[in-house]
Symmetry: C3
Subunit: 284 residues, 3 copies
Amino acid sequence: MKKLLVFQTDFTYKEGAVAAMYGVVKSVDPDIEIITATHEIPQYDTWSASYRLYQYVDFWPKGTIFVSVVDPGVGTSRKACVARTKNGYYIVTPDNGSLTHADRYFGIEEVRQIDETVNRLHREDNGFVSVFHGRDLFGYCAARLASGIISYEEVGPAYDVSQIVRHEIHEASVYEDRIEGMIEIKDPNFGNAWTNIPLQDFLNFGFRSGDKVHTSVYRYDELIFDREIPYYDSFGKAEDHSVMVYNNELNKMSIAEVVGNLCADYGLDFGPEYKVIFRREKDL
Amino acid sequence: MKKLLVFQTDFTYKEGAVAAMYGVVKSVDPDIEIITATHEIPQYDTWSASYRLYQYVDFWPKGTIFVSVVDPGVGTSRKACVARTKNGYYIVTPDNGSLTHADRYFGIEEVRQIDETVNRLHREDNGFVSVFHGRDLFGYCAARLASGIISYEEVGPAYDVSQIVRHEIHEASVYEDRIEGMIEIKDPNFGNAWTNIPLQDFLNFGFRSGDKVHTSVYRYDELIFDREIPYYDSFGKAEDHSVMVYNNELNKMSIAEVVGNLCADYGLDFGPEYKVIFRREKDL
Amino acid sequence: MKKLLVFQTDFTYKEGAVAAMYGVVKSVDPDIEIITATHEIPQYDTWSASYRLYQYVDFWPKGTIFVSVVDPGVGTSRKACVARTKNGYYIVTPDNGSLTHADRYFGIEEVRQIDETVNRLHREDNGFVSVFHGRDLFGYCAARLASGIISYEEVGPAYDVSQIVRHEIHEASVYEDRIEGMIEIKDPNFGNAWTNIPLQDFLNFGFRSGDKVHTSVYRYDELIFDREIPYYDSFGKAEDHSVMVYNNELNKMSIAEVVGNLCADYGLDFGPEYKVIFRREKDL
């Protein structure tokens, strides 16, 4: 097994935190390969941290160890953990909602709380530091795990998977006259809204490329978007600046303004408070 | 030969696309080393993609494979290809203008269309996906090539080099009374305008450090910049905030506002529509 | 020893400079591992370059070679050098203040000026280039050193450590009635002001978590911040939007506006002109 760690954080590269964290990894074992997934998760946004893991984890070789540090609760009693997913990956993260989608889509097999007496960096000059767990705890523990210094069991004591902190999800459901779901994330480059409604459900419901889809978005109970728009199986088929339904790279139904920014132009955002309903015209 | 891939895209790190693409590479062969050239090519800007390859490709070891994914036409009939340059590099890219400068400056020896029946990632759950060729096609095919799973010939069928999609270039030309060229790119950090006029032509024409250069820039037929400015062979010789001609890191003549932003302050941009003329005062 | 180079620059990823520099490294020796510390040092800011090295260098394995290219004086007579620190690291950098903090906190054992006749990239087509030393000089020389092609002594002639260009530092000092220091850097993500006053001095002075600290900041002689704020040893103990003193990840006293941006909201910045004084209420 290749010694490899994949990192995502909200640190940005504006300061030296990433370099300090990576240095700790290399000090544990210079043979560990470090891959940057991203350091631009929106600040404190554990929902996005969770979603991004879902977006890319299972494209990696089985056994890959991911480190996710979006940690608004550093210094509080939130747990620091390493989860093992049912599809064979490890995620080193604060237990603060960042495991929501991995749990929902991959399943969590086991979770262990990092034993800070063993798996935390202690240096003479940083005895008091309690603010940078990316460097001193998550990066350090992950490096020990990747290098084989500790086994998964030696991360620390297991705790019940049911105790993992999860964000609320509004699950996708197919009804006779509609499909419901939520805006699960937005594509920050293009402003597209990605729902959690699977393409397969959408096709089973009867929609075909070229069909009109009555699309409603509610924020809590307020209807904020309500339009008849086409579904296309390719962007090439849509007019510029038109609004359309398409299936995204994870085969979830998504809404785009072609060569535009749907979320900005229509005030859409993501999270369980953004409910989406797809209907046929004839069922209105 | 080292197993190495160098990536440039317009994905940014704001979402998980880079990490998914890199995961596919490592799943093909964990020994492939991944280098990020940049993920900040301006969105959809195939001209910049093309120019950036020219800027850095030939500083790499011969045989290096580059992956460039700026792909506004994903899902249309544009070809996906791997080009082999005359100076010994491989470029995996949509054939959409991204090879313009590699063709102009290095020459393209051969180009092959990626055979999607073989060199495209198929997963049970992504049978329908047609929107993320960086992950499923370009990254995947490049990884197979870098790892030696396929030879260059096994990428897919060759097609005629003359069919490669090229952006228009206004070539640099030396006349008796002037040198003409275009603004080929701008330096986005400093706002300098980089022309395609070689330093050697400029020196052969007779200009020497300290000389005044009458510099005109046209946007299409409109004269938008027309000034007598000095040429210096070093920034150290110019006054702050003065406008000057210098030779850039690729030995092309460039125009800068020292400790300023020429392009922003004077409304200059790049592309064949921005024609540049350097003249001596006496020839006006 | 692992062949490893760690880079920081102000190049950004908006253009191809990073990729050209990394290509030169790989052309010297494809086995050198390249780590990006950051390419987002603020433009021309040699103070930040210096501080960021201090922030992360000593978390890396002894012997690691760092390349720092923030080089406003490229093309002038500033020296290009490789410093060896007393704690066992190498820093390849223009000698322009970028070594200030490494010198202050680690000590510089020896410094050598890069011999450009040997350790500079010469290509047929770049004989005249004097603007991109990151690619042609610093990256190239560092790669030769990392690969073992040259020894440290072969970098070039040593010069007196006392000649190194240093920025002014307002040193932290403990007095009977106060502790003085400076704002040494700001945390650009959170807007926190990081002083150079060590936690240990602060505790020795008598402050304990929960104490009120009279905090004054002067810009030159002007008092620009003057407030009674609490010191907490954890962010978890503070109210949102309150202003507090805490110890940062390098165990220096820092000032934060919780879930806010202190520097933006109070007009604070960093450098020797920003003097900080901590006092007890009773000593006012």
